[in-house]
């Protein structure tokens, strides 16, 4: 039935993380919705239960996670962290209302050798996380550049993968 469609092996998976009923926490989902249909990538969404991310990326060659963060920067600031080889910095973490956060999931996967070769987190700084509120104007304005940044990164990863496949054949 409806579950996540299986991505071709070593594909690029974009996972939007968040809750669109909690204000700016919906930023990752809003970006993911705009990335659907982008050629060559699989777009998935997570309601924020970090532990389920491990199953969501188990077939991925590269993962781009898009999530709201709270680090004290101005709302709408876009952060980019390549966590393939090192953890997320401790301060910009999402306001984890769930038991296992996104950063916990990344480190758990790394510990168990279940982290895809390339993992990049795009974090958009949230301003308000109240129940039911829409995206704040600053975060709303950040969605377009955020989507563009994720799309550019996806295309680059796909091109690199094709290049590697080409040189291998």
């Amino acid at each position: 039935m409806a579950g996540a469609t299986r991505a071709p092996a070593k594909s690029v998976v974009v996972i939007g993380v968040g809750n669109n009923l909690r204000g700016d926490d919906g930023a990752g989902l809003a970006a993911a919705a705009r990335l659907r249909g982008e050629p060559g990538i699989q777009v998935r969404t997570s309601a924020g239960e970090g532990i389920d991310l491990l199953a969501m990326w188990e077939d991925a060659g590269a993962v781009l996670l898009v999530d709201a963060v709270r680090s004290g920067a101005p709302a709408g600031t876009i952060h980019r962290y390549d966590v393939s080889d090192e953890p997320l910095p401790s301060s910009p973490r999402r306001p984890a209302g769930h038991a296992i956060s996104t950063s916990d999931a990344i480190e758990l996967a790394r510990q168990l050798g279940q982290l895809p070769a390339k993992v990049v987190v795009f974090g958009v700084e949230g301003g308000r996380f109240e129940t039911g509120s829409a995206l704040s104007p600053a975060v709303e304005a950040a969605i377009e550049p955020l989507v563009a940044a994720v799309a550019t990164e996806s295309r680059r990863l796909l091109a690199d993968a094709r290049l590697r496949a080409g040189s291998a054949s």
Binding site: M1, A2, A99, D104, T131
Partner: protein, 446 residues
């Protein structure tokens, strides 16, 4: 954890307690070794689901209620659907639709209990701050937990359409029922999950176990011959034995100033405990033989009043849920129709089921055309809130000799004994222990 001192008092504070679902705070005040005050403060804002439901169609309950919780949506859908069916004079008490309800509910127990045992609770017993540290020292244990969770998720996704906030449950049954072939595809993963559950019982039984005995009044459903999941009468070990319709006559909910969740208590008696420990103590005889054997093998008595041993009971329930799921799949034949016809009528209906963390009650009042006039939802965590506060008193009484950091950790572990889902009850758990005898210890907890 930071310690703020002034001339008279000590305040030990954990500003962010990890490994619980949702946001709340704990406040403990000590004078010397004497506990003065304990409060589980849920400050997640009220969510108004009951108000959203008023004015909606009776058929919308399973989809709206599923949004209350990402961990136990099946519980909300089951209690909600049963309450609506009750109001409309329909009962699904046997047959393949009921079997499918129990089967998807088994999936929810498996994924929720696996998450709690491995990711949230086991690290406490081993002195780890998180499952990541546990995974570093015991990678196979962590992988076992993840595999169990994944199988539970698969079962929920197969029957429910997706694993978080499933979309395939409806009043009267399902929109689409799986084929026998689809379910049989889960037989091998569930067989593995059963083996992993048995290994889980053995793993948790050898964890260092704090020694606290509590005089709980246990409350759970009791349902004919089956271990309570989807229906039953509400019973306790102190004489309560009532139909779901009598819930409000026997259990009262009160607003307390320090919490955005209502506190439930048994009228004229007080705190009670619902959840795995209650089910195990009151319905041990209904556990499947394999689950009872697993408990006996590790020496778990049939009466268990140490709240820390709830981790063993959850593992025993994992065995029970995997074993029952396998039987339900073996005998499954799809029903003729995926759902019974449910015609609206004016009236009141009640539905109760056993969420992984405890009993969940719904009550709806419907108009002639099925419009919801009134809704009431009592989640397990608000029922357990008082018992958790009483547990903390007992833990502080028993372990007041520990230093502030150790005592703080023990208190957090005690909260997690009951797998509180604060999101359901109304999100950050902040722990404060205040002592009147000053001691200059300060530390940061994850």
């Amino acid at each position: 954890m930071s310690l703020i001192t002034d001339s008279a008092e000590r305040t030990l504070r954990v500003d962010y307690l990890a490994r619980v679902e949702g946001e709340g705070a704990m406040y403990i005040k000590l004078s010397g070794n004497e506990v003065q005050d304990v409060r589980l403060r849920i400050y997640e804002p009220p969510r108004f689901f009951e108000a959203f439901l008023r004015g909606r169609a009776f058929t919308e309950v399973p989809d709206i209620a599923a949004r209350i919780c990402g961990i136990c949506p099946i519980a909300y859908q089951t209690s909600g659907a049963r309450a609506i069916e009750d109001a409309c004079g329909v009962a699904i008490d046997d047959g393949p639709i009921r079997d499918l309800r129990r089967l998807i509910y088994c999936g929810e127990w498996i994924e929720s209990h696996a998450l709690h045992v491995y990711a949230l609770h086991a690290p406490d017993f081993l002195g780890y701050q998180s499952m990541i540290e546990l995974a570093a020292d015991h990678p196979q244990v962590a992988e076992q937990g993840l595999a169990l969770k994944k199988t539970g998720n698969r079962l929920v996704a197969l029957i429910g359409g997706r694993e978080i906030h499933p979309i395939n449950m409806r009043v009267g049954g399902f929109y689409r029922v799986p084929s026998r072939t689809e379910l049989l595809a889960l037989r091998d993963p569930l067989q593995q999950a059963l083996e992993q559950s048995l290994a889980t019982v053995r793993f948790v039984a050898q964890l260092p176990m704090p020694d606290v005995t509590r005089d709980f009044e246990f409350v759970c459903l009791r349902d004919g011959e089956l271990y309570p999941i989807d229906r039953g009468r509400i019973v306790s070990d102190r004489g309560l034995d009532i139909e779901p319709a009598q819930f409000a006559r026997n259990i009262v909910e009160e607003h307390v100033q320090h919490s955005n969740a209502l506190h439930a208590r048994i009228r004229e008696r007080g705190a009670y405990l619902t959840g795995p420990l209650a089910r195990y103590n009151l319905c041990y005889d209904q556990l499947r033989p394999l689950a009872r054997e697993a408990a006996a093998e590790v020496g778990l008595d049939r009466s268990c009043r140490n709240p820390f041993q709830s981790i063993i009971v959850r593992a025993v329930e994992l065995v029970d849920a995997c074993d029952e799921a396998l039987e339900l799949i073996e005998r499954y034949e799809p029903p003729d129709r995926p759902a019974l016809e449910v015609q609206p009528r004016r009236g009141v209906g009640h539905g109760v089921s056993e969420a992984p963390r405890g009993m969940l009650y719904h009550r709806y009042e419907l108009d002639d055309d099925g419009t919801i006039l009134d809704a009431r939802i009592v989640p397990p965590t608000s029922q357990n809130q008082l018992a958790i506060e009483e547990d903390l008193r007992a833990v502080v009484d028993r372990y007041h000799d520990l230093d502030d950091e150790e005592l703080g950790l023990r208190c957090e572990q005690a909260i997690r004994n009951h797998d509180p889902c604060i999101s359901c009850a109304t999100h950050f758990l902040q722990l404060t222990v205040e002592r009147e005898d000053p001691s200059p210890v300060a530390a940061e907890l994850g």
